[in-house]
Amino acid sequence: MTDPAARSEDLAAQLARKATEFETLQRVSWEINATLDLEEIYDLTLETMATLFAFHHATILLLEDDQETLTVVASRGYENQAIGGRVKVGTGVIGMVAKRRRMLHLSNLGQTRAYVSAQRREMVKAGRAGELGDTVTVPGLPNAESQIALPLLVKDALIGVFSIESPVPRTFGPHDEALVTIVANQVASAIHNARLVRAETTRMRELADEKQRAAEALQRVNDSLEIRVRERTAELERELRVARELLDDARKRVEGPLLGQSAAVQGLHLAIRQYAQGDQPLLLVGATGSGREAAARSIHHESSRRGGAFIQVDCTLLHAHDRSKLLGSLDPEGREIGKMRLATGGVLYLDGVHGLPLELQDALGEEIERIEATREKGETPDPDVRFIASSHRDLAAEIRAERFDARLGRILLQRSIPVPPLVARREDIPALAEHFLRKHARRLGRNADSFSTAALERLQAYAWPGNIRELRTVVERAILMSSGPVVEIDAEHFAGSKSLGSYRLVRQIGAGGMGEVWLGQHQLLARPAAIKLIRQEVSSGKDRAALTQRFQREAQVTAKLRSPHTVELYDFGVGDDSTFYYVMELLVGMDLKSIVERFGPLPPERVVMLLAQACLSLAEAHEMSLVHRDIKPANLFVTHLGSEFDYLKVLDFGMVKVEPGEETLHLSVHGIVQGTPAFIAPEAVLAAPDIDGRADLYSLGCAAYWLLTGRPVFEVSTATSMLIHHVQKPPRPPSAIAEQSIPSALDALVLRCLEKEARNRPDNAVALLEELRRIPFERPWTNDSARHWWQLHAPEALHRLQS
């Protein structure tokens, strides 16, 4: 019989327990659903288990995306249960609950395990061990006796398993199953919601990351665009400089020859004005050097076509197969464009039209006829070009002699303008001479400002077979030979009157502080050559003899240089007036100083290609103990040999020093350090006795710096300051000031060449050459690149003589 008091107490205890359970479930329901943090949900769940079952172990496992694995995400009560432990779906109690999606309540696991183990042993005894698989360690209490495991389901989809275990058999009853089921349902729902939020948050973060990446990519594109715009701007600026140069050049050509008040030149002006308006073809007839080009440019300038191009063609340089060069359009790759097309909207000036091959005369006549016929119909022809031809020959006579195409001749002779020779306008000579005096004195830095009366008389009396061009040369030469403001003209100034050795001086093609450069011709071979005259101010007999001897010895050594990249020395000697002269091969093209001044810095791949050629020249010279001592862009001449473009020749080995030091020959003015301040090596500044080829490498480094950046290594205002900087100041890397990007290897190599101590530079020109060749470029500078560059940028320079 049951004691009523005890029963009452028992009921009260049961009520109290139920109340605790209810409260716990209510709290867990509220709290779990109030958070979206997975860790917090796990904690709350396990905490609830601790409250409901004093003696418990619990674990939460979630199903992986592969749907085959469960991973422990939270655990309480298992000292050795690692978070992250895994079990396959279908294995063990937990795996089976996941597989069947049903609760499993086991009360005496130990017993079952012992039973199964016994069966296993029996099988082994019976020789059936081969049928057995491995025993698998599953997450959970190793010695669990009681376990309730139930699936975490959201809308029938399994998301994991929740399990409570106890080491005591029969710990849990049916009531506990119900409690755990309630909690598990809450947990499943909370985990699901939190994971959704987490996934959404991750997605948002990914979107934000993606947005960030997109913004960065956009920034990179913008940066790249900015660089391209900058490069394009620099390119356009270069082109603008070229255009300005060309315009300036054109103006200078126009203004000179047409000066004067003579009836002849006034008549020419009248004809120019008369014919400027209109599009018909014109012919300018006049002697060589009389100013035909100036007249043509003046017509262009006076006409409504002045905004268009003035394209000049030297017809004597064209060959029969050059039709496309003259009349062609863009080739399929858009490279070749005929001169006629280039002149669209402007004027095509055909200089020396009599020299045009007959085949081209025929084709040109046909083109002009076609264009004129279109104009007659009131339509704009394609291309809209005006043709102005010039010749010093009588085209009518040429036609009669069948040396000129009759149709083209007929077209051109319809409007012919005579350009008077200088002798026909003698009264203009003083004005023209003074114009050239001002122009060249300024350019040469001389203070000459007038001619002596005798000089003017001589100028007016002379026959001027070379016309205005000859006048200009004579004036320029006279300025160079003069030492005061009043310029004298002597008989020897006139062309044809002077020869040096076997060479006759034809005309002056350049001048500098050291002297002049003349176009010369061998009197017997008729071979053209460049003749460099070097004035020196030693006058006394003994010194002069010693100097002459040294000069000869040095020239003999120089003449041994065989590198194709060293300008070839044909001859040398000393003139009657103690002028030393070198006779060198005549080159066409431009020196690197002029190229950079006109077109701006060169791309690194082109610089490397040019420097490599300079190294080849220097390597040979250094091998023969010759140091150039004046390597600079102006002495690096870029020419073309046949179809080989950007062929570099080192000029001016005339200033070389024969080692050792005592043999030094100062051909320049005494007291001035040899070399050019912007490009001189520190040891040359200090006049060190042991100067070797590495001084040239320093100068070559300076030249490279200038080619890459368009600026000298040191930007200072005086030569003295420049020399001090070479000795003392470290240079900034070219990449720090260049507008273009420079490969780091090239940047470093230039700086090594610029080391103050020669021993820190590359050992010799061969070593430098090898290092240059190792610099990688995505698009190396090829002969095609060079050919294209010259045709596009300076086609006229392909025929320009060295100066």
Partner: protein
């Protein structure tokens, strides 16, 4: 004597059936040879039926197929009593809810011990309860 007899399974026996304590089953062949063996669990099906697992008990199964009567003693250690169930074999189920629950329990253990597919429930044998008697340890001794 606390023995009581009924042909309905009382609620009080349910926790005992699931307690995991091994039970004893006694059967007899058609020629009268008895056999007793241990079984791990007796499953509650409804108030008048229980289920036994058909796994390895070859002799028990053979006996029951010949002679459908069986006697099972369930041990209630907490309650200090035995429950003796007289049973009549009715049918063997290899699918359905009863089979599923029994199979799940067995497979859960077998899968973790390398016995999956070997230690396997072949069928759930359903027995009708003919009588249930509770015997206190003190009186049954």
């Amino acid at each position: 004597m606390s023995a009581m007899q009924t042909n309905q399974l009382p609620d009080a026996i349910r926790p005992v059936l699931g307690n995991g304590v091994p039970c004893t089953i006694a059967t007899c062949s058609s020629d009268g040879i008895p056999n007793a063996t241990i079984i791990s669990q007796v499953y509650w099906v409804d108030p008048t039926h229980v289920a036994l697992s058909f796994q390895f008990f070859n002799k028990t199964i053979r006996n029951v197929r010949e002679n459908p009567r069986a006697s099972v003693t369930v041990n209630d250690l907490a309650g200090g009593a035995h429950w003796v169930l007289d049973l009549q074999f009715e049918r063997s189920e290899s699918e359905g809810p009863v089979f599923d629950v029994m199979d799940m329990n067995i497979e859960a253990i077998a899968s973790a011990t390398g016995m999956s597919g070997i230690f396997k429930l072949r069928a759930a044998d359903i027995y009708r309860v003919l009588s249930v008697r509770r015997l206190d340890f003190s009186t049954s001794a």
